[in-house]
């Protein structure tokens, strides 16, 4: 056995910053919005989370790949990220129950990545300069050509992506004899959300993003769930329309992440693109109703406006992000509709907020 030096790759940021590193995953070129995730576990769950569609992920944790990949720990059928940037990468893993190495997994799923990068420098850069696009390539290292390719990557603002990652046709998830029927508006749902619902005696019918409300209603659900997903919520008129009708239906509804933003937009609260978003497994949230705190898993680059909620008579803030006081959860007054900006299903991340699924089921049982 000899020492493996690997092949070279380059990462270029929109503002011209260039990093050289080693090629990992599939050899090739790929662009997207670069954003960092500070989680120390759960890389496979992150890569397969449809909310990351179109994004290049920087894992800030020092090692990636150590425990391989496992088919049962995916948040969707295959990775959704556009690229991967890591510090130290292991194509060797030790977990006995893993199904493959991360390297084989990434190659199989066409994910382009780069390793041996000063990821901390990138984080500080994004922290200061804000979200931007980037490109990774193990084929092209001419900065001029890379810049051309990078210019073709679309900006995340005004981008509609849900319809690209959601299910193509409706399907049933869970046991049809379960007590509660939940109609799920799939904007790019994570599997563990469905798992959390079915574990609480729900059966889900998952509808593609652009499904009409009538179609959802036809199934006669006990409640509606509006999922997470990628892209700019402000341009998702179709989903906003659907959710307006869901709210009018007076049935319990629960939204997560993008779903939360859509519920806000449907209630007249605008959203905005954050400076560089929240992505990690350690975000502190305070539940204003109980006064208790929870450590949450987060992944969002857009957020709902706090000022506008304070001016609204229909919407109330239920959860706050303690790091920057952004809105983390809302409920609609006089309605059984609530939503959170973070990920109570976690995967990856702490399970502190799973009580929200209980709350949703509780609302359905009260009807």
């Amino acid at each position: 056995m000899t020492y493996n030096f690997g092949e070279k790759a380059v990462l270029m940021l929109e503002d011209g910053l260039i990093f050289e590193g080693k090629a990992i995953g599939k050899r090739g070129t790929s662009g997207g919005e670069i954003c960092f995730n500070t989680g120390m576990t759960g890389y496979q769950e992150i890569y397969t989370d449809p909310s990351y569609f179109g994004q290049i992920i920087v894992n800030t944790t020092s090692h990636i790949g150590n425990y391989g990949a496992k088919d049962s720990e995916q948040e969707s059928e295959f990775p959704k990220i556009s690229g991967l940037v890591v510090n130290d990468y292991s194509n060797i893993y030790s977990r006995n129950t893993a199904t493959s190495s991360l390297q084989d997994y990434l190659v199989k799923n066409n994910v382009v990545g780069i390793a041996d990068i000063d990821t901390r420098k990138i984080v500080k850069h994004i922290r200061d300069k804000g979200a931007m696009n980037a490109i990774i390539s193990s084929e092209e290292n001419d900065p001029k050509k890379l810049k051309k390719l990078l210019e073709k990557v679309p900006s995340m603002v005004g981008l509609e992506l849900s319809s690209k990652v959601c299910s193509k046709k409706p399907f049933i998830y869970g046991d049809e004899s379960a007590t509660y029927k939940v109609a799920v508006l799939d904007l790019g749902i994570k599997t563990s959300i469905l798992k959390n619902l079915t574990a609480r005696d729900c059966v889900c019918k998952v509808f593609p993003a652009k499904t009409d409300f009538k179609e959802l209603e036809k199934w006669n659900p006990d409640g509606y769930f509006i999922s997470n997903g990628p892209g700019d919520p402000a341009v998702m008129d179709y989903a906003i329309e659907t959710v307006k009708k869901i709210i009018e239906s007076e049935k319990p509804a629960f939204g997560i992440c993008l779903g939360h933003q859509i519920i806000a937009l449907a209630s007249g609260i605008p959203t905005f693109k954050m400076h560089h978003g929240h992505r990690g497994l350690n975000h502190p949230i305070k539940n204003l109703e109980t006064g208790l705190c929870e450590v949450t898993s987060q992944n969002h680059g857009f957020c709902v406006s706090r000022e506008e909620i304070n001016n609204s008579k229909d919407v109330e803030i239920t959860h706050l992000n303690l790091n920057d006081n952004t809105v983390a959860g809302i409920k609609l007054k006089k309605k059984n509709v609530f939503s959170v900006q973070y990920h109570p299903e976690s995967s990856p991340g702490p399970h502190d907020s799973r009580y929200l699924f209980d709350k949703f089921v509780q609302l359905m049982s009260n009807k």
């Binding site: 576990t41 720990e73 030790s94 901390r120 990690g280 303690l322």
Partner: protein, 937 residues
């Protein structure tokens, strides 16, 4: 819940003298807690019998009691002060036990004192194996299956039920004797009989063996409202079977997928909530079955611990400081993240580097000790390395150990005996890590190494990769080593010395070459948040990456070198001195920079210095920090032998040593020159000689005459020091020393049999000498000063003797051109005072004298070193009342079979202080009457 304003005065109980398993991490937690409470305007009263602690300093607390940790002392304090609450979770098991004793005796109730940060029932549940098992069953947490047996038949039945492999643990035996792992029925009967016999109550615990499972720890914090956060996950490199205090540990966990980690997190929270509702810190240990990821709860400790100190240093999150605030009612979301100062304390640190902790053992001090690692902790200290990857952190931790290695391997000290290596892999001792490296180097198969060590494959592959890299490097020479390869080696933590060894050149050539290549160390922040937020606390480590985050200011700066990992002879006393050195330099207007690698210490609390570099006290790292920071000078005389040893090289590189210069430091060590100096000053010393071979030794012995004290030069704590009475013993010992420390010179001193020993500590500004204290040993000469009971001031030395000691101390300090501290050891025979040795540096006794006389001598000495003050500037006013006895404390109970005989080689791990009013004190009289019995201790 906001702060409970009814708590205005708090008592903190310390952990007492340092013993194995309870070291200076509790000085770190105690002083943090104290500062944290005082920030809130709370009056803090502290009790601890360990004088060498920062926590018992008046910079830390309002009222300090250097008293034995007994109920009597507690009552005395409660009589004198109006204490509202007691915080017993900062002083280890010792403090908890005392708090429970007082509780049982109704003392807290009587004086209206609330116990905060703790729940007595919770402690009971965690201490009692059976209660723990029941509670965990109730909570649905899997634990090791097991039962206690009082008879042979009962034992056999239990074994049948549990199946093999299993563990037999006899009840109430010391050092785990009589217990062990049993793999088959054939071994079982004998082992069971053995176990039952070794238990005084004829009882054994028979438990399912999870030897070889992966071992983890989580550090939790919970506030009074029930909010819980996990500060850090720690993974043991050594799997189940080695005590966690003796295991190499890594943070964050390296091989845990999110699913298993979250299950562990959930269980830890459930366990903490299950045992009680106290507000504070908690440590939970787990084992994970590598085959199917199933989890078992091992134990839970409802207090801050060695691991929480490590977790604090590993993440930057000050657990003890926050735990103290939680104990007085605050909620986590009401407190600030101490590193970012902009986000709340309620969050879980995200780290973007790796830390590796390696324990430091002192088996050389315990001849005849069982060297194997197992259920009982045996290490005396630890070093932590921080790197951007595991390999870098591992190399840095190895470089921090000071075991005469340059890191992990690449230093010509590899073991090549296959059988010896294989045995070591299966039977872990202090050097297994090095033997794993050796095994790969020798070409032993991966599967064999894995099978014997049961260490996770990922860790082993990381070491295997180092060997592959080395093979690649070895193909080159200095002239043709590619930049890529040099960078790769540096990023994996290789020291220039190691690379020099691989390509057969000098360390300085490698340094020069990589500078030419533009391969430079950069410094990164430990910031709790992976750079997500801006950090305010200047806590750095080095690595090889693109961006440097440590900006060097234009201020005038001083670097203080720390003492590295604790070991016998060099412990907490030196950390005490370093901390005061830093504080004094700051008072003088300097920007202070601390370099140390011991995670247990106060000096590595980023609150202490203006800048903390958590780096090995190893030439390459220090030199690069100096180049980066350009300080006015470096203080070496406070960090024990570790720091002092670097003086020569600092001097050679033209770096200013603050205080006594290198020439004088060297002169004191060089016996020949030193005795010339003594002769010139007409100061007596025992006949001596310096030799470099056994033949010379025998020759010399004829001249000097037996008994002889034999020792290598440049050692601390009397390492390899021995008294010999004939030629055979002399030859044996000289051969041993020269084998262990080749090329060293050996000193032979005529040993003054029956002499009395004394020592003096002094501050000298080059012109004037102030003696801060003279201590007389109770036992006669022959026992290392660190191991003898000593009294301050002397109890029966005549004026004539005292005057000789004073005069000689002053003469020597001046003759050595001392600027700063000096310690001189004397032997007194027939009223004549002889010099044994002089050490122009802070000694082990300095903190003791500071405490006994309640004077800031290290502060004064530092100001003298910096040239800020002269002796005449200080108003010395020692509080001299009665006598202070320094009592050594030993950890022999961890080594049941070792020879407990004391001699010139130091064996004690800690010390306590005991004040007496006069010499008729019973305690003193007992020590005095038994002074010759030390051989049977």
């Amino acid at each position: 819940m906001p702060r409970d304003n009814s708590i205005r005065s708090v008592l903190i109980i310390g952990s007492g003298p340092i013993v194995i398993g309870q070291a200076c991490e509790f000085d770190y937690s105690g002083s943090q807690a104290s500062r944290s409470l005082r920030e809130e305007g709370i009056e803090v009263t502290l009790i601890n019998s360990n004088p060498a602690t920062i926590m018992t300093d008046n910079v830390t607390a309002d009222n300090i009691y250097l008293k034995p940790l007994t109920k009597r002392s507690i009552i005395e304090i409660l009589e004198k002060h109006n204490i509202d609450a007691v915080l017993p979770t900062m002083g280890g098991q010792t403090a908890l036990n005392l708090a429970i004793d007082c509780d049982n005796a109704g003392i807290w109730e009587k004086y209206g004192v609330r116990l905060i940060g703790v729940d007595i029932d919770a402690i009971d549940t965690t201490e009692n194996r059976e209660k723990f098992r029941l509670k965990m069953g109730e909570l649905g947490v899997n634990v090791c299956e097991g039962k206690t047996a009082n008879s042979f038949l009962e034992g056999k039945e239990i074994a049948q039920e549990i199946g093999f492999p299993l563990v037999i643990r006899p009840s109430y035996t010391l050092g785990g004797s009589g217990g062990g792992f049993v793999h088959s029925y054939e071994q079982f009967e004998k082992a069971l009989t053995n176990g039952l016999h070794s238990s005084p109550i004829h009882e054994v615990l028979i438990e399912q063996s999870i030897l070889g499972w992966k071992e983890y720890e989580l550090e939790l914090l919970r506030d009074g409202s029930g909010n819980i956060i996990i500060i850090c996950s720690i993974e043991n490199f050594d799997p189940m079977g080695v005590h966690t205090g003796d295991s190499i540990t890594v943070a964050p966990a390296m091989t845990l997928p999110d699913t298993v980690y979250q299950e562990m997190r959930n269980l830890a929270i459930k366990m903490m909530n299950g045992i009680g509702k106290f507000a504070g810190g908690c440590n939970v240990q787990f084992a994970v079955n590598p085959d199917d990821d199933t989890l078992i709860g091992i134990e839970i400790n409802p207090r801050v611990s060695r691991s929480s100190a490590l977790a604090s240093k590993a993440t930057g999150y000050p657990i003890a400081k926050i735990a103290a605030k939680l104990a007085i009612g605050y909620n986590l979301d009401e407190l600030q993240n101490q590193i970012t100062k902009s986000t709340p304390a309620f969050f879980e640190p995200a780290i973007d580097y790796v830390i590796v902790k390696i324990p430091r053992w002192n088996f050389d001090k315990f001849q005849g000790a069982d060297l194997s690692l197992g259920l009982q902790m045996k290490s005396v200290g630890e070093a932590m390395g921080i790197g951007r990857n595991f390999q870098e952190a591992l190399q840095k931790a190895c470089q921090s150990l000071e075991i005469k290695r340059n890191g992990l391997g690449a230093d010509a000290k590899e073991l090549t005996d296959r059988e010896e290596i294989l045995h070591s892999l299966e039977h872990p001792s202090w050097d297994r890590l090095f033997h794993i490296y050796d095994a790969f180097k020798l070409g032993i198969s991966f599967s064999t190494i894995q099978k014997l060590t049961k260490i996770d494959k990922w860790f082993l592959q990381q070491i295997e990769e180092l060997i592959l890299l080395e093979k690649e490097i070895e193909k080159h020479s200095l002239d043709n080593l590619p930049r890529e390869l040099m960078l790769e080696a540096k990023q994996k933590g290789y020291a220039d010395r190691q690379i020099a060894h691989l390509i057969k050149c000098l360390e300085s050539q490698v340094f020069k070459k990589r500078k030419e290549m533009g391969i430079n160390r950069v410094y990164k922040l430990v910031d709790t948040c992976a750079a997500e937020f801006k950090a305010e606390t200047p806590y750095y480590y080095s690595t090889f990456a693109e961006e440097n985050e440590s900006e060097s200011s234009d201020n005038k700066k001083i670097i203080v070198l720390g003492a590295g990992p604790n070991r016998i002879g060099q412990g907490i006393e030196f950390d005490y001195c370093c901390v005061h050195g830093v504080l004094a330099a700051r008072e003088c207007g300097y920007e202070t920079i601390m370099i140390n690698c011991n995670p247990e210490t106060v000096s590595t609390d980023p609150d202490i210095s203006d800048k903390l570099y958590f780096e090995p006290v190893f030439w390459e790292h220090i030199y690069e920090i100096i180049l980066h920071e350009k300080p006015e000078g470096v203080i070496v005389q406070l960090g024990g032998q570790t720091a002092l040893k670097l003086a020569e090289k600092l001097d050679r590189y033209g770096i200013k040593i603050i205080g006594t210069d290198f020439k004088s430091l060297d002169l004191a060590e060089d016996r020949g020159h030193f005795s010339t100096l003594l002769k010139e000053n007409e100061i007596p010393y025992p006949e001596f000689g310096t030799i470099t071979s056994a033949d010379e030794a025998l020759e010399m012995s004829k001249k000097i005459g037996f008994p002889l004290l034999v020792r290598p030069s440049y050692v601390l704590g009397g390492q390899s020091m021995k008294i010999v009475i004939n030629e055979v013993e002399l030859e044996n010992h000289v051969v041993n020393i020269l084998r262990d420390i080749p090329g060293n010179r050996v000193l032979l001193d005529h040993f003054l049999d029956g002499a009395i020993e004394a020592e003096a500590d002094a501050i000298c500004d080059g012109e004037e000498v102030y003696i801060i204290g003279i201590m007389q040993h109770i036992e006669p000469a022959g026992i290392h000063s660190g191991d003898s009971n000593a009294v301050l001031p002397p109890f029966n030395l005549g004026d004539l003797v005292i005057q000789q000691i004073e005069a000689y101390t002053k003469k020597i300090a001046l003759a050595l051109k001392t600027v700063g501290l000096i310690n001189i050891q004397f032997a007194i025979k027939d009223d004549k005072v002889y010099i044994i040795e002089a050490n122009p540096r802070a000694s082990r006794t300095v903190p003791f004298i500071c405490k006994a006389y309640d004077e800031p001598y290290v502060n004064y000495a530092t100001k003298v070193m910096l040239g800020k003050n002269k002796i005449k500037d200080f108003k010395f006013s020692p509080k001299k009342h009665g006598y202070a006895i320094k009592e050594p404390v030993f950890s022999f109970n961890k080594f049941p079979n070792v020879n407990k005989e004391l001699g010139p080689e130091m064996k004690s791990t800690g010390e306590s202080i005991y004040f007496i009013d006069d010499l008729l004190d019973d305690y003193f009289l007992k020590l005095y009457s038994e002074r010759n019995l030390y051989l049977s201790r």
